[in-house]
Amino acid sequence: MDIIYFIVQQTMFFAIPLLIVALGGMFSERSGVINIALEGIMVMGGFFGIGFMHIFESRMSGQLLLLLALLVSGVTGAIFSLLHAFASINLKADQTISGTALNMFAPAFVVFIARMIQGVQQIQFKDTFRINKVPVLGDIPVLGPLLFQNCYITTYIGLGIAILSGIVISKTRFGLRLRACGEHPQAADSVGINVYKIRYAGVMISGALAGIGGLVFIVPTSTNFNASVAGYGFLALAVLIFGQWRTNKIIAAAFFFGIMKTFASAYSVVPVLRDLPISNEIYKMIPYIATLVILAFSSKNSQAPRAEGIPYDKGSR
């Protein structure tokens, strides 16, 4: 039973950052802008968030520090994503090239700053955020150890973001207009909606969430930041596509991928897995292979936003 608790707890650590970043990608792509720079934005956000913690951890600790750091990460991500927004929306540049540039820039920039300031590229921080047991909730049989022990507040924040995203996309005016811009910007324009503004919003939301995702990725799983998020940004893209750009499917996809990652890393600890002839590398590959297969069969019925990747030109009629 302990094993199961362990697996669920670990899955949370892997799935939640994927979920947050993938949802960010959803906002950008459903507004019409492809954002493959999620990896780079995660690095930037993670770096500034961890950097903030590193600087201020002598003065405060615990959840307050973490929450402020999350804020810093989000803001950093949003600002960094402006570069992509400007190139894609105003300059109508190739969105994959602009995204690739940001992905290359972020780790290099981050290592550079780190080495400049402190000599080494790894930034350490103290983990004062681990919650051993949530009062009251942690004592519930079964559910308690599953969800409310050995956890981080980031898990609940992530789930909160998921619920909020779903509501915003489908039940608010902003969400309706955003979706229109991603499917048929001419239709949106013809009723007076400012497509450019909405797309900027979509990209900045993706930036903020990716930034937060970068921090959320590091905190539960290590005590230092080493200028990398191990491909999570791209995996989040896979989650987005696997989840067909819809909130509920993205949640499912994130957890599926999270479980695979857990199997991959907890491989040696879980007796069942150890005995199966599947090596941990294969678990790591499964999410990517699964995405390929899904894409191969569903690209005809893909629910990809119809106008994504196509720069909107008001003049073209």
């Binding site: 979706r179 949106a188 009723v191």
Partner: protein, 508 residues
């Protein structure tokens, strides 16, 4: 006279091209006012000016007697002007309700409040007898219902002046009757409607008055009830005839192209855009398919050349069945295609003249050896064609076609297609957008083909061209061939009647 809209002496230019030349349109309150004209007459341009998509160089617009400036669709909307475009602006995975309220949503702190909106939409729908289902998805409903959604969009924001741009182009006959009834209802409720069309029947059925444009000029405004179809047709096409071409007596040979029961279905509307078409073209004749744009001629050609799939039918060249053949195979069987869209299909715009002239023949032994291009051969060939067809450009065979004039670009295409010595040439609107000189030249080339015993299938929207160049005219209307005419025995006015669906010779 209570005019709700006055557009006085509007002139609109695009560079050197005058799309509208001193056009005046006056619409009374509560009337259905039709705007009639052929393709290129300027109808859509005029409405785009009214709707704020374009600004006129000269002229003024008055709404309810007050002069106004309309700089964008929002301004138009504020003046209660709404437009149903020919290509609907609907999001495929929104519901009907969402589509109607988009841009005008009722909200409470950012959250959509659909109940109030739903009530208003249902009320409007019942009041104006516009049947819709608020919860269906746009992709699931018929084109007729989609159009009603567009109309409700206008009514939802209290538009009083409603513009319909060729609304019946995508509807079935039943849906067209529905629309006519809806328009009458709207007008009874005090709305004013401008209805762009080239279909005389429909104008006769529903309009009060009709303004006719021809080639950007204002021809006149008539009272529809008292006008005859003949008068309207005459105003639309005019009498003058431009060119006198020397054509030898036709010498007919074997059947080169045979088309049997061809049908093409549109992927968007699931309607038959080409409906059971059959005809033949023989050696030594120029057959012209005449019709107003949008009646299926484009799809017919794409189907024959292989660019789009057929729903049913058979195609034969020189007796050989090519229905299932690839585009390359059809080309090798002797079919040449001068395409409608010279920039999209006819040329690789970023290639040079010499690269483009071998677009259909680069793999032939004369132009390549073991896969390597024989540049000398290609260059010589290009030079020959440039001289023969008088193609003018900055760097001759090395000019990038993107930078050439439209006429010369077309000459490259024609040179390439005709020099292949094809048995049948499909020429689609080959003189569109070209000046008089280039037009004359192209007509001469087509006639030369025919005099040399080749077959030509010409698709044209220009009545002058149709009358002068062809030996036989097939009129296409709503995807069907409705007449097979001899240009020597039919008048232009009559032709106009066939093209606008008012008359048909071949029974359904």
């Amino acid at each position: 006279m209570e005019y709700v809209i006055e557009m006085n002496h509007i002139t609109k230019e695009f560079g050197n091209f005058k799309a509208l030349d001193d056009v005046t349109l006056c619409v009374k309150k509560g009337e259905v006012h039709a705007l009639l004209g052929e393709n290129g007459a300027g109808k859509s341009t005029l409405m785009s000016v009214l709707f704020g998509l374009y600004q006129a160089e000269q002229g003024e617009i008055k709404i309810n007697g007050k002069p106004v400036k309309i700089n964008n669709p929002n301004d138009a909307n504020n003046l209660n002007i709404g437009m149903v475009h020919q290509h609907f602006k609907l999001v495929h995975n929104f519901t009907v309700l969402e589509s109607i309220v988009l841009g005008r949503e009722t909200v409470n702190g950012g959250f959509l409040k659909m109940d109030e909106a739903r009530k208003k939409v249902v009320e409007l729908s019942e009041h104006y007898k516009l049947k819709i289902d608020p919860d269906s998805y746009i992709s699931d409903i018929t084109v007729g219902m989609q159009q009603r959604v567009e109309i409700l969009k206008m009514l939802y924001c209290d538009n009083e002046i409603l513009i319909f741009d060729e609304p019946t182009a995508v509807l079935t006959p039943q849906e067209i009757d529905e629309l006519m009834k809806i328009m009458k209802n709207l007008v009874d409720e005090g709305k004013s409607i401008i209805f762009i069309s080239h279909k005389l029947n429909e104008i006769k059925a529903v309009a009060n008055r009709c303004t006719v444009l021809r080639k950007g000029k204002y021809i006149g405004t008539i009272d529809v009830e008292t006008a005859t179809r003949e008068t309207m047709s005459e105003m639309m096409v005019g009498r003058k005839v431009n060119f006198n071409l020397d054509k030898a007596e036709e010498k007919l040979g074997n059947v080169t192209l045979k088309v049997e029961n061809l049908s093409v279905v549109s992927k968007i509307s699931h309607k038959k855009v080409v409906d059971d078409v059959s005809f033949e073209v023989r050696r030594g004749e120029i057959v012209c398919i005449a019709g107003i744009d949008g009646n299926g001629q484009s799809e017919l050609v794409y189907g024959i050349t292989g660019l789009i799939p057929l729903q049913s039918g058979k195609i034969e060249i020189n007796g050989k069945d090519i229905t299932k053949d690839s585009i390359r195979k059809r080309s090798l069987a002797g079919m040449a295609h001068i395409p409608e869209d010279r920039h999209r299909h006819g040329l690789v715009l970023d290639y040079t003249v010499q690269q483009n002239v071998v677009l259909q023949t680069y793999f032939e032994p004369r132009f390549q050896r073991h896969g390597f291009i024989r540049f000398d051969a290609v260059r010589e060939y290009a030079k020959k064609l440039i001289k023969q067809y008088d193609i003018r450009s900055g760097q001759d065979e090395n000019s990038v076609t993107r930078g050439m004039s439209g006429g010369n670009q077309q000459k490259v295409i024609i040179a390439r297609e005709l020099d292949r010595d094809p048995d049948i040439v499909l020429a689609v609107q080959p003189t569109r957008g070209l000046d008089v000189g280039a037009t004359e030249y192209i007509h001469k080339q087509l006639i030369k083909q025919r005099d040399n015993g080749k077959a030509v299938l010409l698709i044209s929207l220009e009545l002058d061209e149709v009358m002068e160049v062809s030996d036989r005219i097939l009129v296409i209307y709503e995807g069907e061939i409705v007449a097979d005419l001899d240009p020597k025995e039919v008048t232009v006015q009559e032709l106009g009647l066939y093209m606008s669906g008012s008359k048909r010779k071949i029974a359904k």
